[in-house]
Amino acid sequence: MTPTHAVQEAVRAVSRQLPGGYAGKLLRVDLTSGRSWSVEWSPEEMRTYIGGVGLGAKILYEEVPPDVGWDHPDNRLVLATGPLAGLPVWGTGGLTVVTRGALTNGATSTQANGFFGANLKFSGYDAIVIQGQAPRWVYLSINDDTVELRNAASLVGKDTWETQDALSAELGVSGHQLSVYSIGPAGENLVRFAAIQGDYGHVASKNGCGAVMGKKKLKAVAIVRGTKAVTAADPRGLFQAADDIAHDLKTNPLAKSLYEYGTLPGVVNLSKLGVLPIKNYTTNVVPEGVDFSRWEAPKLRQGFDHRGHQCNACGMHHCHIQVIPSGPHKGERVDEPEYEGWSGAGWTIGLTDPVAVSWLNTRIDRACVDVNEFGWVVGWVMECVEKGYITKEQLGFELKWGDADGAYRLLRMITHRQGFGDLLAEGVKRAAEKLGGPARECAVYTLKGATPRGHDHRGRWDEMLDTCTASTGTLETGNPVFPQEMGQPARINIFDGDQVAKLVAGLLGRRHFEDSLGICIFTTRTTIQNICQALSAAAGWPYALEEAVRFGRRTAAILRAFNLRCGIGPDFEYPSPRYGSTPIDGPAKDQAVMKQWERMRELWYEGVGYDPKTGKPLPETLTQLGLDWLRRDLWGK
């Protein structure tokens, strides 16, 4: 046998063993040289790292050494999907972005939906790994086996919707046949909380992944729906699992509201619990005079002319395109905000008119920054202006709580780094530290440099602990529908630090499991067993809950090791003074999280098997997780 034949035979042998649901290849792109190539990955690696964040964490750890910061050409931008993407389970267009992010300069894992994951798989790839820096603006075009870096000069300055429109015209493909994920002006100008947005309304938003893409001078990735088949190892089993999942989503009391209204019920529910963040944490009580009935989920939906805008294979009544019904922007097409949009573009900045919020939210998506960080930045500025810590002269104009036009003006200043916007483009933590004094005390952030999602976590301590200890710039747990599946109680006293810490530790990595499958986290509101069943049927592995739990904790350990190597350790696992302050009103009034914080951290470390002094996963923890190689890296033994 000649060497060529030997290689071909080896490749065939690998493909014979290829688990169902996988394309079996990663597309590698070097922007510096303009070269692209594909590499096989082995079935063993697939079982160990699954895809999505699991695969991304491995690549990040192996290929991004500590001296390669977020803005270094050698930083990797991994766009990965997983084994369920493209299969007939609801919500299987999932994309996970993994990189070293601009806000924390540590690991990032952030998700979006739409069609990208499915289109990528149909093109024959499980992930795209991007390195280098292009000499001029380019976009990556994938159309089955044709992979090209194309000139993006004409796209520079366009927002994300304009970019998608332009590429649709250029490529002659539209609708679900084309998925485009791009950066807006914010990413081009290296705003530290720039996001990556796709398919008109889906955003991978966390930890400045859009700034990484901007630094690489990559304006967009456009994938035409490919022609390669993706099959499950056990199609009947997969259909059964898909049916079981859909049934749960439609009937489980907790999932049913998500099925009917997506995240719209969040505003009313969370306000009742004191978790709706109003005016930058100055209160969580809805102000007198606000017509709160407009914020009920059915009203939010009926208040707009809307039509469904579901993602790949999804049956949820969730994503919609709306038409602005009144006001100065009447008739504009926008995407229906997620809860996070209602919060970040609305309540956090004191804006309580749903029509204005919906408009602003889409402007944020199109300029392409993280709506949460935007809310914390603008809310902070508004409070500082009110208190005189930031002057009109510094800002350049008058700004008051709830001023939609003022917020939009700030958005443009931030995305173009103009005037005071240049400082704000650094994100809340850096801007607050630069200004210092009492202004700093008002800012909501974690010491790692990220900000929380759109909640008042002073009434949701589990998410505060998770946000502060996580390695990704956002959450690593997230409550499953049935915490009992992971040995956790159905409910806890949410202001008992011991119970909170044990719960968060017990759930570590759960989200990594879901985020590695190529499926939306809203369509996994079922038992973890059902998700494992879908994975088993897709891949042809007998995959049980224990393996899912171990996988999630393994991924968390790799991401933590990456961050530790970058100098991000336990000293950063704290909320800023305002973030960790005690609410003065509302249902969580007088509940002081910081009184219990050290004890919570201690219990969390114990629960996850990490060393509280160094933050390192203990040697025995690493061995249990099958990470002896990491044990040698971290402990030298």
């Binding site: 509201s257 209204y261 619990l273 059915p298 409910r491 509101r525």
Partner: protein
Amino acid sequence: MPKVGARHATVEVTGWVTKFVGGDGSGRKLYTEPVAAGDTVRDILRRVSARHPELDAALWDASKRELGENIEVLVNDAVLGISHTLDSELQPGDHLTLVGQYMGG
């Protein structure tokens, strides 16, 4: 049966939870419940849910002794656990609120 000499507490069912008591998932439904000496949060909730099978199924866990994972209870606008537990005695004039738990971002 309400005890002799009972006065009243209110039970407010809000937003999504109204679906379990014949509503459309918005607004609120208010119930006035007699409270007698010794009545606990649990007693009042049991009485209300006994009249609404769907609420009963959603509110309680399988043992029917503890709350399930779907609905949060506030007592006088404070989350259960701050000033009250399920076994706290209620006073006339107290106000219970049922709020659907919420997942998602």
